[in-house]
């Protein structure tokens, strides 16, 4: 794809920074998109692990009926924290913050993002937001117990630290908006010569669509949060019915952001899938234009369906029917993608390396999550299933089985590029396999329990659910082991892994045209794009680069 050669033994971005500072300060003040991406990786992984540990405690409480480990109030705060951490600190910033930062400029053939300092500011705003969440746990009033959705009227009445915790979400929103702005500008302004919109890798397309949602949807949650804080502090009567407010308005405003936000979570993951499948099937992607444009379509249709979270909230029947109908439409662009991925693999020469296996796990888990979403999107069935474990199972399948799985896929795909090291393949395969089994053991029983009427957000349950709850808890232990293997393999490889070549998988997008790890300004020579993004005929030439 690129003309020119890479000089041997150039300094990598680890050895050469953007400022004169060295050591940790050289990282904290670095405006290099790659260092910022890695700092996000460290921060987000930390919060992910904290979220998992909280969840393990919840599962332990649920191992048997009655109070086993904690009382109801503790359980309330723990599931809230688990939700807040997983949503606002892990999965929403997630893939754009880590892989978007690291790879968007590389894939475009650019030296950095458009606004490198703003990028560093986004990172630090994220950290400030995270610190506020932590502070909210320890100041008088106690940790927030509303669930991650902060529903009115409870969130106005509870004495816990709602205001501070949601203010943290407000701050985190700015990080998201600025990152989105940066990516949109980068895509428009910094494509290498020869790269038109329809020669961009699909990960770039999906990050671009995501960036639009970040910019357009996040302000809504910001305003909503400020209104809740004012309602708590001054009783202004926007949401509180006793003051003439409308509690359903809160749910509208919350989901006007939070539903598009689920597309912030999943779109970049779909982009990574579209990168990994062609590389390991050695075949150009099937239906490039359809996949690229379906990202934009999903981003747009994602704005039209928010109230499917509110079918039982008391909104008008007309609205329920309209939103249920619109919900079914989102399945179309998602279906376009899945069929195109499968068609890409057809007659490809598939090399089932670990990143590819993660993607296969994704397709299964995400399809289960997506299809059960249709069950919840139908009015009649949702009345029965709303606020049960069925919902808990559904969103873990899409968020954890979907985006979470692809977070690992991306990590295993790009690890050699990011760190210049290879990991242990066999251990990686064991990790995926165990993850897949543990995942289904942990969450599939929740579908059945939900169908049978087990409500979500309860620390206790009727004896008839005991067996399935136990299975789910055992699943959570297996999941813990799987995650230790998955992370452990990578951490170990950082020190002892074999050195990676510049293109260990035979990928052809631009990031594989530079050294592993890349130099400070990404490429030794100026990039000129001459091929389509998934044109594997260039592999031979690349060997000589």
């Amino acid at each position: 794809m690129a003309n020119g050669t890479i000089a041997e033994h150039a300094k990598s971005f680890y050895e050469e920074g953007t400022s004169k500072k060295t050591g940790l300060l050289g990282w904290f003040f670095s405006t290099d998109h790659k260092r910022i991406g890695i700092m996000y990786l460290a921060a987000l992984s930390t919060f992910f692990i904290i979220g998992v540990i909280l969840a393990l405690f919840m599962r332990l409480e649920l191992i048997a009926p009655g109070e086993t480990l904690m009382d109801a109030q503790t359980y309330n705060t723990i599931f809230t924290l688990h939700g807040v951490i997983m949503i606002f600190l892990f999965i929403v910033p997630g893939i754009p913050a880590i892989f978007g930062n690291f790879f968007l400029p590389l894939m475009l053939g650019a030296k950095d993002v458009s606004f490198p300092r703003l990028n560093l500011l986004s990172f630090w705003i994220y950290i400030v937001g995270a610190i506020l969440v932590v502070i909210s746990l320890f100041v008088p009033g106690g940790p927030i117990d509303t669930g991650w959705t902060f529903y009115i009227p409870y969130s106005v009445r509870t004495g816990t630290n709602v205001s501070l915790a949601i203010f943290a979400a407000f701050v985190l929103g700015f990080s998201s908006i600025l990152t989105g702005l940066n990516f949109i500008t980068t895509v428009h302004r910094l494509k290498a010569p020869g790269m038109g919109f329809f020669k961009m890798p699909l990960f770039v397309w999906s990050t671009y669509a995501t960036a639009w949602i970040q910019v357009l949807a996040t302000p809504v949650i910001g305003i909503t949060i400020l209104l809740v804080i004012m309602e708590r502090a001054f009783g202004i009567g926007i949401f509180d019915p006793s003051l003439g407010g409308d509690p359903i308005l809160y749910q509208h405003l919350f989901w006007i952001y939070s539903h598009p936000a689920v597309y912030i979570m999943i779109l970049p993951a779909m982009g990574i899938v579209s990168e990994i499948i062609p590389t390991f099937a050695r075949r150009t992607i099937f239906g490039y234009n359809a996949i690229a444009l379906s990202s934009l379509a999903i981003a747009f249709v994602g704005y039209l369906v928010w109230a499917h979270h509110m079918f039982t909230s008391g909104m008008s029947d007309t609205a329920r029917i309209v939103f249920s109908f619109l919900t079914f439409i989102v399945a179309l662009p998602s279906g376009v993608k899945v069929f195109n991925w499968v068609a890409t693999m057809y007659k490809g020469s598939i090399d089932p390396q670990p990143p590819f296996l993660w993607v296969m796990a994704f397709i299964v888990l995400f399809s289960i999550g997506g299809l059960t979403g249709l069950v919840l999107g139908s009015l009649a069935t949702d009345i029965h299933l709303h606020d049960t474990y069925f919902v808990v199972a559904h969103f873990h399948y899409v968020m954890f089985g979907g985006t979470g799985t692809i977070f690992f896929a991306g990590l295993y795909y790009w690890f050699p590029k990011m760190f210049g090291k290879l990991y242990h393949t066999k251990l990686a395969n064991i990790g995926v396999a165990l993850f897949f089994v543990a995942f289904n053991l942990l969450y599939f029983p929740k579908f059945i329990m939900g169908y049978q009427g087990m409500p979500r957000r309860y620390y206790d349950y009727l004896p008839e659910f005991a067996d399935l709850q136990l299975v789910s808890t055992i699943g959570s232990w297996l999941m813990a082991i799987a995650l230790i293997i998955v992370f452990g393999n990578l951490i170990r490889s950082l020190r002892t892994g074999r050195k990676a070549t510049s293109n260990p998988w035979g990928g052809v997008t631009l990031e594989w045209h530079t050294t592993s790890p890349p130099p400070l300004e990404n490429f030794e020579t100026d990039i000129v794009v001459t091929h389509d993004p998934y044109d594997f005929s260039q592999l031979e030439d690349m060997k000589n680069e």
């Binding site: 428009h188 302004r189 910094l190 494509k191 290498a192 010569p193 639009w212 357009l216 809504v220 359903i248 509208h252 006007i256 704005y303 039209l304 928010w306 109230a307 909104m315 008008s316 029947d317 007309t318 609205a319 309209v322 939103f323």
Partner: protein, 99 residues
């Protein structure tokens, strides 16, 4: 920056006269909003207020914020944002108006 459309190429000076006229128009529209708020139009109060607000924003965005003189791409961006907002309003009213 290979597409060569840096913003500087489009430096456009709006005359003071135009700026003052727009300013007066905004003041006029504001007083209409205030007056209309005093008249009982039932369901339509909101729509009238929204319409006037939209006209005002259009003036500010086009003239004071210079969008009128910018590249088409910026207009497309703005249109997308405005349409999104419109869709959100319309769909919210699908609930509110039929309760």
């Amino acid at each position: 920056m290979q597409d060569g459309h840096s913003n500087e190429e489009h430096s456009h000076v709006t005359s003071y006269g135009t700026l003052v006229i727009i300013w007066l128009a905004l003041l006029g529209l504001t007083s209409i909003t205030v007056t209309v708020a005093g008249i009982s139009l039932g369901m339509y109060t909101l729509f009238v207020a929204m319409f006037i607000a939209a006209v005002k924003s259009a003036l500010v965005i086009n003239i004071f914020m210079h969008i009128k003189f910018e590249d088409p791409i910026f207009k497309v961006f703005l249109l997308v944002s405005a349409l999104t907002l419109l869709v959100i309003f319309v769909l919210t009213f699908v609930d509110f108006s039929f309760r």
